[in-house]
């Protein structure tokens, strides 16, 4: 962070107003105004095929990360205020421009697509256990689910929702699993901390009886 700041300070002049640029122009430096920065960030987020992080954007345009983050926040506010079809969202540690869910029927009608096959209940339960208990081994998953889940684990691995996270140093050295970046993307999560606490489900579960 500190490093990025000093680097940015050395090479880029971030200015609030155009006038400041004119007052202190230093040769060989690229000055990006607030509006331009916002515009560039939007363009990069638009073309990026995966959620793009503020750091990546900052690196590309050689700007200070905090400034880029502020520009993105402003951009997001603009998207909100406009109440259009698009939203700017933070997913898997990056930013992404996507449509709002309200329009899914019309979009599907145009794309002539159907939602892709959902995960089975078994796979979802296994995924839930892995998401909350990671890194977790197969025997530990069995303990919670009460059933073997070899095919569920295979499905999740095939769909790249989980990844092997090394072996546990215990009897049999079982493989440990954790969720992947793809998991965050497919479930629209900023990061793992965005998952509701597992203890919240306790109230929900206990409340039913």
């Amino acid at each position: 962070m500190e490093k990025a700041m000093s680097k940015a300070a050395r090479t880029v002049e971030i200015t609030e107003e155009v006038s400041t640029v004119e007052e202190s122009p230093i040769e060989g430096q690229r000055s990006i105004g607030e509006a331009e920065l916002k515009s560039i960030a939007e363009a990069l987020i638009f073309v990026a095929d995966e959620p793009i992080s503020a750091k990546t954007i900052a690196d590309v345009i050689d700007a200070d990360r905090d400034t880029v983050e502020k520009a993105i926040a402003d951009l997001g506010a603009e998207y909100e205020a406009r109440k259009g079809a698009l939203q700017l969202r933070e997913i898997a540690g990056g930013w992404q421009i996507a449509t709002r869910p309200e329009h899914h029927e019309d979009i599907r009608a145009y794309l002539k697509s159907r939602p892709s096959a959902k995960l089975s209940l078994a796979s979802l339960e296994t995924l839930a256990v892995i998401a909350y208990k990671q890194p977790v081994t197969v025997p530990e998953i069995l303990e919670i689910r009460g059933v073997q889940s070899p095919s569920a684990i295979k499905t999740l691995l095939d769909k790249r929702l989980i990844v092997a996270k090394g072996r546990k140093e215990t009897v049999g050295r079982p493989m440990m699993y954790g969720t992947s970046k793809e998991f965050l993307i497919q479930f629209g999560l900023k990061d793992l901390s965005e998952l509701p606490s597992i203890e919240d489900f306790q109230d929900l579960a206990g409340g039913e009886s």
């Binding site: 095929d49 939203q87 992404q96 899914h104 794309l111 089975s120 209940l121 059933v147 095919s151 793809e182």
Partner: protein
Amino acid sequence: MEENTQTIETETTSNTAAESAQTISVAGAQPAIATDRDSDQLQITLGEFEGPLDLLLYLIRQDQVNIYDIPIARITDEYLRYLTLMKELDLTVAGDFLVMAAQLIELKSRMLLPRDPLAVEEELEDPRAELVNRLLEHEKFKAAAQMLWSRATVEQAVFKRAEIETDTNNPEVAVGLFDLLTVFQKILARHKEEVLMEIEREEVTMAEMIDRLRNMMRSAGEVNLMKFFERAQSRRELVVAFLSVLELVRLSEISLVQHETFGEILARSVSPA
């Protein structure tokens, strides 16, 4: 049992997240047939359970008993009755179900026994406590699975811009170095297997092997058996080679000579060609 799809459902195309959440909560509970109004799709839910914990939870909910005070005798009876039903329906009863049945019966018997008055404090714990904890833990994760399900449903309603031609790191094809290595190793392993198979299929018959030995005898007069065996390219060929030596000895075509103990064995023609 595992992926033994308990809900045969045709794709729910236009369900909102809320509707979908309802669908999942009934899945695996009771047998049911439901139609989707917007299309002619039919949903059939079989009354089958993901696992023993699911079945137990269902029985507890159905009887509306307190999960912290499970009437073990009654629930065990119902549980066993369900297993019998599964057998009658010719469904394979997975081992997990049987393990749970055994645990329930053990619990039931422990509940019947009077408590040991001399037992230490910790042994006085409700024998059901462990099961209750497992059930609650399981239920939490079932709820978490539902949450993931609705998240995925909402997420599927969100669209990103169409792919640009330069999209090379599409998640479908994004592989790391290790994926590549794994695939490569598999190919190597398969290749190795194939080669081994080929050699085995290339069978040398006994007659061919005898001919080979006779030819060697003819050209050299005597043959060092070690050299003869070394020509064999596979285990099978080696066996055939050994047998053909025995065969020729039996036919008195050759005799075996050894000059010193543990020394090399030479095959000599009995009647010089």
